[in-house]
Amino acid sequence: MEKGFEIKDLITVGVFTALYFAVTFIVACLGFIPIFMAVMPLIGPIFAGIPLMLYFTKIKHFGMVLITSVIIAVLMFIMGHPYPIFIFCIGAGLITELVLRAGKYESIKHCIVGSVTFSLWLLGMVIAFFFGFREAYFASLADGYGQEYVEQMMSYTPAWMFYAMILMCLVGGGIGGLLGAKVLKKHFRKAGMV
């Protein structure tokens, strides 16, 4: 099992990370409408979970999820998200890695749990609304988007919202994982592609 990476694994990582990122990005674009921003951690993983599950079934070595999370972190950082994104991405990647490892990279149940834990990286995107970052971030938003937008956003994101968002991530990841498993069963196993 511990054979290390083959080139095939690296390519699988690249292709599926691209797909996962694209789906997340499209869903995240909805996030500019204030109310969607608040439920983004719920909606995002539901859709992104479907390709993620297929990706998880392709994983056979330790470290592939970790690379995915590092790449997502780097891309998010280039696009201008603050640095905590690295902590969240890599943390979520590591947890997911351990979950999948516990299932020996075969069990579909562990994949679903993995989808739950992996979706936690989304918290890195919304961390700017909370804790120490809150004041500075909203001050910068006020200039760009206008006071009204900021007030709207603030009313959707009180401090307890962060914990609600953790819950949303978990639930969204769970639903996404289950949906993904269903899609896999319906389409891919029949075609012999898993």
Partner: protein
């Protein structure tokens, strides 16, 4: 062919623009920085002769500036919120998005790999990233083909359930993703990527004087940005 920049310079440009545009304020020296950042993608797009997107970008952004300057003061309530949101999104993400587009369309994969190697990134990061780099345009093509196929069979307009629509689009994309991953790994094996020896490359990239100048300019912009 006009100026050809080193991929490392382009990366630096992208990071700088991303950082400044996402969190920049609209007052004081930062406003000037934002203006510069907004102008850079336009010039770069002209330099690779993609006039269509350059002009589209210019129209979109001048429209945004016009809206922010003239329409916003006269609106309030929901209308103000909508206009501000749309303008904010365009002016914040437009430049970064176009820089990404410029980067992808002006850099070949081998240039990218060589640059990453010169920056001493390990292969486990470089290879997946270069695959992604190549895969994004393919993804768009795949989506368009699926869209066409659905239209030909008159599926899509009638689908009310969003989950069903997502299933119709996502499942074929996932199928072809698996296929493409297999094809790519076969291709890379024939190119000898699996051999553990060091690889050589014929593509030459080098930092020219104007590359250094641009990087210097970007660094000083970031310094100004964080100092004030």
């Amino acid at each position: 062919m006009g100026l050809k920049f080193d991929p490392r310079t382009k990366l630096m440009l992208m990071i700088t623009i991303g950082l400044i545009m996402m969190s920049g304020k609209l007052t004081g020296p930062e406003y000037i920085l934002r203006l510069v950042c907004t102008a850079i993608p336009f010039i770069l797009l002209l330099s690779i002769k993609s006039f269509k997107s350059a002009i589209l970008y210019a129209i979109l952004l001048s429209g945004t500036v016009f809206c922010e300057g003239f329409i916003v003061p006269y609106t309030n309530g929901v209308m103000n919120l909508i206009v501000m949101t749309i303008c904010g999104v365009i002016s914040r993400f437009g430049p970064g998005y176009l820089m990404g587009w410029y980067f992808v369309s002006s850099t070949s994969v081998s240039e990218f790999i060589t640059a990453m190697k010169k920056m001493h990134f390990p292969d486990v990061v470089t290879i997946p990233m270069s695959v992604m780099f190549r895969y994004f345009p393919t993804l768009k093509e795949e989506y368009l083909s699926i869209h066409d196929a659905m239209k030909m069979r008159e599926i899509g307009q009638g689908v009310k359930n969003p989950f069903q629509y997502v299933e119709y689009v996502l499942v074929p994309i996932m199928m072809s993703t698996v296929q493409i991953a297999n094809d790519l790994s076969a291709a890379s094996l024939t190119k000898g990527l699996g051999v553990n020896n060091g690889r050589t490359h014929i593509c030459r990239i080098s930092m020219k004087a104007y590359d250094w100048l641009l990087i210097l300019a970007m660094v000083s912009m970031l310094v100004i940005f964080y100092a004030f």
